[in-house]
Symmetry: C2
Subunit: 172 residues, 2 copies
DNA sequence: TTTATCGTGGATAATTTCTATCTGCAATAA
DNA sequence: TTATTGCAGATAGAAATTATCCACGATAAA
């Protein structure tokens, strides 16, 4: 069981974007630099977040990314599913049926109990992720984070956010 | 987020071994054949289960594998951790510190809030897995599984289980 | 004692997934 | 128009997973 490291980057970017004012945006390249990540690859993850309507992108010079809705309505589950995909971690290969003794497929119509138990656990996992909102992450960081680290973050946002004229963004 | 397919095989094997009588064993090759898996690779997973004291192995011509303790005291979590390892799915790479703006490391002594939230979710996942015992899986299968499928399983165990003289098994 | 069966561990290869980069294209503010 | 930015696709490298093979030690049965 493993999560791609893109998840961490995606959450950090979303948390950063939660701090921009109004409908301002931050360019993807700036986000990549602030986390020491390769821009090309980070954009892949940002695109996935955009495709899932978690971020909005504004093209053109002065463009960039911003949250598609308030941080109170974005959960960690939203972000994890956008980056990692919606498929469950456990996929039943129905190896029960793969042995040498072949019987009618109708004997396997009932879902495998093992699969059910694994999916139940994954529901618990997703439920826990769904309980944490992006705004909780930001609030906790602002309340308990080190002042020096917060100062760096605020300075970064100040320096890179770009106000947008209208609320227009990419409509898919 | 993904689980290796060895997990499914491991759980099925453990469930099968839960049906053998007394201290009898089943050879790994027989288990592999019954699930249509490559023997060489399945044995790797069985070895991990053995190393984690979930299975016991008996060498020699009449040897094989059996549960190391009653199915009531084996949970899905035991098996998943044995096969997939104990490391959490989310590993915080502390990308907060990787940007161009370097400040003292003491600013990052507090654990990342994102990491805490992800680990909390994983605890929920593991707790759910720990609630399901191997005996539950077997009982559910015997109660609700298709009779034809159960007949095949029982016949397989009958055909391949091998009584052992003593309770001796590999002592690591 | 000999032999055949079985588990163990290491080495190795094939396959897939993840990570990373590059390039051309579309959109848009200046 | 021009420069900046996001977007999509192709591609390649790295790493993990999956799979196979072989030599070895242990052991029950002949």
């Amino acid at each position: 069981m493993k999560l791609g490291e893109g998840v961490e980057a995606a959450i950090h970017c979303a948390a950063t974007l939660a701090s921009v004012e109004g409908n301002s945006t931050i360019p993807g390249a700036a986000l990549a630099e602030s986390f020491g990540l390769s821009p090309s690859y980070l954009l892949k993850h940002l695109n996935m977040l955009t495709a899932e309507r978690i971020l909005e992108s504004v093209p053109g010079p002065a463009g960039g990314y911003r949250l598609a809705r308030p941080a109170e309505r974005i959960t960690l589950l939203d972000i994890v599913l956008a980056v990692e995909g919606r498929e469950p971690a456990f996929r039943c290969g129905e190896i029960r049926q793969r042995g040498p003794v072949k019987i009618d497929a109708s004997a396997y119509v009932k879902p495998c109990g093992i699969n059910a138990a694994m999916l139940k656990a994954e529901r618990a996992y997703r439920a826990a992720l769904a309980e944490t909102r992006l705004s909780d992450i930001v609030a906790n960081y602002e309340a308990e984070g080190d002042p020096r680290s917060i100062a760096v973050s605020c300075a970064f946002v100040e320096r890179n956010q770009r106000p947008q004229k209208s609320a227009s963004a990419k409509q898919i």
